[in-house]
Symmetry: C2
Subunit: 432 residues, 2 copies
């Protein structure tokens, strides 16, 4: 496929963070040329867009779109025990596929080009991402409980099979994802980290999301969650730590020293009222890598990374009474170059030779006018629904709001059907 994007305003996210006007030519999976004027012919031609790197969502649970709005305004414990866990136990492969397809539709429609997922039935999720064209770091969940998919003893060996199946794939990267220090024993963490090391994969885990978690882990193991991860080989330069809302200043330095990466999920943390908060300014100062995630749609309740960027920038200004903290540029960096660099994908910026993972926003939208500063607009004024085309690995998975490779209506209907099955035996459904 070849795509020519003409007369565009390009938020390049290159080293100089330049914003420029010009054309972009994409051939196969690569940005072949970026210059003031390109006259090459192409299969598809788009004009007059604001173009930026596709957004990278570093912590999500794709199939949880099925629980979107199923239990809000509840305490975390009540939400998990009365709503999420009972429904999760009923999940099957078809439902997982339906929920994942809906999530990918939403992510593609709102400008996400890479996600870092973690859930059950991860092979089904990986296949669905591959089919729909989403770049996905697919985290095979490891936990010390039986899952709706398999017995707990099977998780590590199945994870290894999963890695062997997917390694080498261009779009899908297998990831070892032990759930957390409170749901995995030291032995499980140790084996998971060894598995990741053996195959050179990323690790993905929850870390210090709530205060209760920190206290529980300290009580059980005499170590805070981060220390517990480190003791068991889980704090490496290939570890994505989701949340880190309750970390100390010393832990900030520890993360930076280890070269691990934080996935900050402001919307989910606020909605679940987890208290505390990922200390972005301190993480920046320590030189730690910070990226952004939506978490699952059940606690967000959407997967719009534009919204997540705005929440991220604003909540920290608010906390510190300092409007200069977490700037638009820093926020955009978290969602693009920082994440791409950490995940080791040759994307995250619009430069010749980079993978063609990029998005086009319509400029004739009232909320993007007038144009003073494109970076500001991308973070503070844009909405995911300003995105009109989403290109992943050179493929236009959304082109002028059409989806050439899948049937939007069918995906929505099937998700609705899957949800109906999920809640059909659940008397609580009408009390929400």
């Amino acid at each position: 496929m070849s795509i020519l994007i003409k007369d565009s305003l390009i938020i390049s996210q290159d080293k100089g963070r330049k914003v420029k006007k010009g054309d972009i030519y994409i051939e196969d999976d690569v940005i072949a040329e970026v210059s003031e004027r390109i006259s090459t012919e192409a299969e598809y031609v788009l004009t007059g867009k604001m173009v930026m790197p596709g957004l990278i969502n570093t912590h999500t649970h794709l199939p949880m779109t099925l629980m979107r709005g199923y239990g809000d305004d509840l305490t975390l414990e009540e939400w998990l025990t009365t709503r999420i866990w009972p429904i999760e136990s009923k999940l099957n492969e078809d439902m997982i596929e339906a929920g994942t397809r809906l999530a990918l539709l939403e992510m593609i429609a709102t400008g996400t080009t890479t996600c870092n997922d973690m859930y059950f039935f991860e092979d089904t999720i990986a296949r669905t991402c591959k089919k729909m064209g989403m770049r996905c770091f697919a985290g095979f969940s490891i936990i010390d409980f039986d899952t709706p998919e398999m017995k707990k003893e099977m998780l590590l060996p199945e994870c290894e099979k999963f890695i062997r199946k997917w390694r080498g794939d261009e779009l899908i990267k297998p990831v070892v994802a032990p759930h957390s220090t409170y749901s995995c024993s030291p032995e499980t963490l140790q084996k998971a980290s060894e598995l990741a090391e053996k195959y050179g994969t990323m690790l993905h885990t929850h870390c210090s999301e709530t205060r209760k978690e920190v206290y529980d882990v300290v009580e059980r193991y005499g170590a805070r969650p981060l220390e517990q991860l480190e003791r068991n080989g889980m704090l490496t330069e290939k570890t994505m730590l989701a949340h880190c809302g309750w970390i100390t200043k010393e832990e900030v330095r520890q993360i930076a020293r280890a070269g691990a990466c934080v996935s900050h999920n402001p919307v989910s943390n606020m909605k679940l009222a987890t208290g505390g908060f990922t200390p972005l300014p301190e993480l920046f100062d320590a030189g730690a890598c910070v990226t952004l995630g939506t978490d699952g749609a059940a606690s967000n309740n959407k997967l719009d990374m534009f919204e997540t960027m705005k929440f991220a920038a604003l909540i920290h200004k608010h906390h510190r009474w300092d409007a200069q903290i977490v700037t638009a540029q820093q926020t955009l960096d978290m969602a693009t170059v920082n994440a791409a660099s950490y995940l080791g994908i040759n994307a995250g910026s619009i430069e010749e030779g980079k993978k063609a993972d990029l998005i086009c926003l319509d400029m004739d939208m009232p909320n993007l006018a007038p144009m003073h500063n494109p970076i500001s607009h991308a973070v503070y004024a844009a909405s995911g629904f300003n995105v009109s085309s989403t290109i992943i690995d050179g493929r236009a998975v959304m082109l002028e709001r059409e989806f050439p490779y899948f049937d939007k209506q069918k995906i929505i209907e099937e998700a609705e059907k899957a949800k109906e099955k999920l809640v059909s035996n659940d008397a609580k459904q009408s009390t929400n």
Copy 2:
């Protein structure tokens, strides 16, 4: 005009807060019928929508769309002195009209049907709202400085003329809007409140937005802003108090006793890092009326009330470490019935006999599927851009994403031109 909305999911916001399936028939400016099935003919027929009352934005400065993204990540003082005030001094009537038109386009596109504005050149703003079909409480700004429009001595007499011109209008309600206790002397506040009383209009003012404001007013007048308002006749059951981020528990009771209303502006407050925060749970407990506003686009940076609802619900959960605080239903109430009731418009809910101020959201959007709970979706999952039709006073000002009464492209182009003129002599423009 007659409009029939068929097979819809209706978030009625009636007394029982019922959500029901059915049809809605609108004749002229009124919701003539709501029932399971209506077979009347109509000029326009819409089908398969989620229908809800139009959102009410109780604090904004419409023309400030022209400064959207012009100065972010700055302290409030630096933002005002180096960016906003220099540019505001250059505003003229044409620019005001262009900025207002852009604001109205954005609000209509994202589901707002009533706004409570306050700015200079309010007659131009009122005329523009009338022309474009927006229900507007038009706040004529009173301040102890010369404005770009007129000398300060002229403000009160011109405000009176403005009231006499617009009172009785169906769509536009004139409002007396003394800017604040730090920019208006006691005499000015007194005269403004007398003027409002004489004509029975609403009052609109900023109150306790920043800590500095509170200290300054205490130092100058020996009273906190709310007390200063009360002393000068400004704390009435027709007063809209924007912000109230720095009020005490006693002031919460004082507001409730007076029957005044708070306009909570979470996005702007967070972006400008004003610290403190409107104490919603305490205001609810005291029985005070609370509504929501975006503030101007310069400090938001958009005018999407769906986003504002989500920020409002989430920030308070986060503050109090309590996910049960400020529920989806309470949030939707603030943006609909509470505001309508306070402003005295016969709208804010979908019931027979009410004014036809309502919006239709497309249901085939990935972020609104699957459907567990429409109220949750409206507050946590929807985006302004899910709105496909906006009906104000029975007129479809947006119909299936088309604007029958104005030229979207032209409005955007004219706003861009107005912005160019505004910044043309401003050397700072490229340093943002």
